[in-house]
Subunit: 196 residues, 4 copies
């Protein structure tokens, strides 16, 4: 994804096209399943940008990657509204597992989570990213609660933890695929937990 067309300078104002090119390249590189190195130099070169342009707007490499990741988050996972908790949960987890099972997504998530462990900026961005995803799922659960579908003492946060926990655990260790069947099974189990 090398910048082919000439991108004009914008003088003393921030160049939005450059910013977008950087994030696009970051997304592209993160998704590569070969061993293309994801370095600031390769990003800058591929985006047709100076390294300083990156560091002017982001504090570290991890911050760039996490913002790139966050920008792509949720595009593949619409929030379903079927009317029942189990169906919502199943639809959501199927979509989530489907997206999360794509090789490009796996690669990107693995790399960024690793980066978040060593780069404090990336860690902070990752926390926000995670919090955002959690809010969506928790919203889905709260809707069901408001409909009276959940038991009184149901720990919604713990249910969210289990859903995303399984997802990340499998992505990072690779010990099992994110199969559709497992999405369904997990949805059923978590719906059961919610009902009490």
């Amino acid at each position: 994804m090398t910048a082919e067309t000439r991108r004009p300078h914008t003088g003393r104002r921030r160049n939005e096209a450059a910013r977008q090119a950087i994030l696009d390249v970051a997304v592209d590189l993160l998704g590569r399943t070969d061993d293309t190195p994801v370095t600031i130099d390769t990003i800058a070169a591929a985006a047709g940008v100076g390294k300083q342009t990156i560091y002017r707007w982001w504090p570290s490499k991890g911050a760039v990657l996490l913002e790139a990741l966050a920008g792509r988050a949720g595009v593949d996972v619409p929030v379903p509204d079927t009317g029942t908790l189990e169906d919502d949960l199943e639809a959501f987890l199927r979509a989530t597992f489907l997206a999360g099972g794509h090789p490009r997504t796996v690669s990107a998530l693995r790399y960024t989570m690793a980066e978040a462990q060593r780069d404090p900026h990336a860690r902070e961005h990752m926390r926000e990213f995670i919090a955002g995803r959690r809010r969506v799922l928790r919203g889905l659960l709260e809707r069901a609660r408001d409909r009276g579908e959940t038991a009184a003492g149901a720990d919604l946060d713990l249910i969210v933890d289990q859903a995303y926990g399984v997802l990340w655990y499998r992505i990072l260790t690779g010990h099992a695929d994110l199969s559709e069947a497992d999405a369904v099974a997990l949805a059923g189990a978590l719906a059961g937990q919610a009902r009490g």
Copy 2:
């Protein structure tokens, strides 16, 4: 943890004392919560060993770290045998969360999981480490199944995924602590799930 005493050579056979010194130093460095760098150079220096002695026996830094980690695994988590699934599960998860909540353990697990994402050798070792931990928990569940405590169609592997998924998810994102209360709640939820 510098080697103070003179360590004798062992001729043409591997020097077990050197191997142990390397792993000890690795464990020590992995557990540091300050930003002490975990490098081959620092490991070698602290262990009083030449770098080549490390590379002679391990293919990469990650492999050393994972072996060091694996060597310490399970020391803090005995397998309980109370007679009932829920009590076993609760005891196991309490111990696991307790150990996994210790700053030194968190630091080590975060670093090694990150390393496993970039170093194929570390990844392979991590897979084995993960598989070993899973076997323990799965054995506990199978025992309950053999006692007839679980429903016919209960997916034991998924339950294992949920337990360790929550653990790793919290360790890596840091969005919530590994509290004792959550261990108890999770044990209850999973026991219920197993019973069907």
Copy 3:
């Protein structure tokens, strides 16, 4: 010779101050008669420079050392012009032997000639260095020839070879000093050869 004062960056152009610092340190280290190691690391450290800055501009250690040596060549040996071949030759060889007999010069020449045997880049630079020194002496001889002081068939190159041959032979083997008396004797002998 550590860089004490802050050296400013020069942006996208080569930093001449850094280049000079590297060569200065190299000259200094080459001249040491103790066993201070002449390493890229020590050069970089003493010059306050990253190793990559050296490898960006020179292909190998030997290339740096040879350039450093060449930069100092000829400073101590002015080309005399007395009007007669023998006097010119004597003055030149006295100065050459004097400079070549200095411990710092001996050390530098020994090290660089050794380096030139194993490093092809250094070898190439050494060839140029040698060629440059030869040109000076040969120029002196040609001037005498133009004055009609030499025999018709005199092989000037072979005379140059003998002069520098004795110099290097003694420097490298250390079997005899570069005494003033020998400079005079050699000048007389070579002048005799030239006259035929």
Copy 4:
């Protein structure tokens, strides 16, 4: 030159076969014009010998190489005895230049002279090697002096320096070949110089 046949142990006495194998391999490796590394490991492996067997009898790598070189010295350069200085000198220098011009010899001399600059043991051996070669040539000159062929004040040592100086200078810098014509020319010049 790998040791193919089984070499028997000799109990508690030095194994002469091993010693010879080491020197043979050293000579072979020194003569290689490709970039085969001349290391203790390669020598030991090729000679079918443990490294310790080398270090038991020689103090350093350079010492081995120099002894190997010395063992081959003089094999190609018989001392002529034609009856006249110029003819003796010409015959000697022709043979010397011929031998010294062989690629294997050049390679060996270059490597060992370089080694002699960094390894004190090699340096000492080189001094002896050089002294030995000098004695031969000086003997030739003294014979002529005893016949009354040289001038009273002729500096025989300087003549020896000039002869070997040219040889080594060309070998080490490679700026010119050791041609037969130059051997003849040099012999003539030095004979003239001796006659005064």
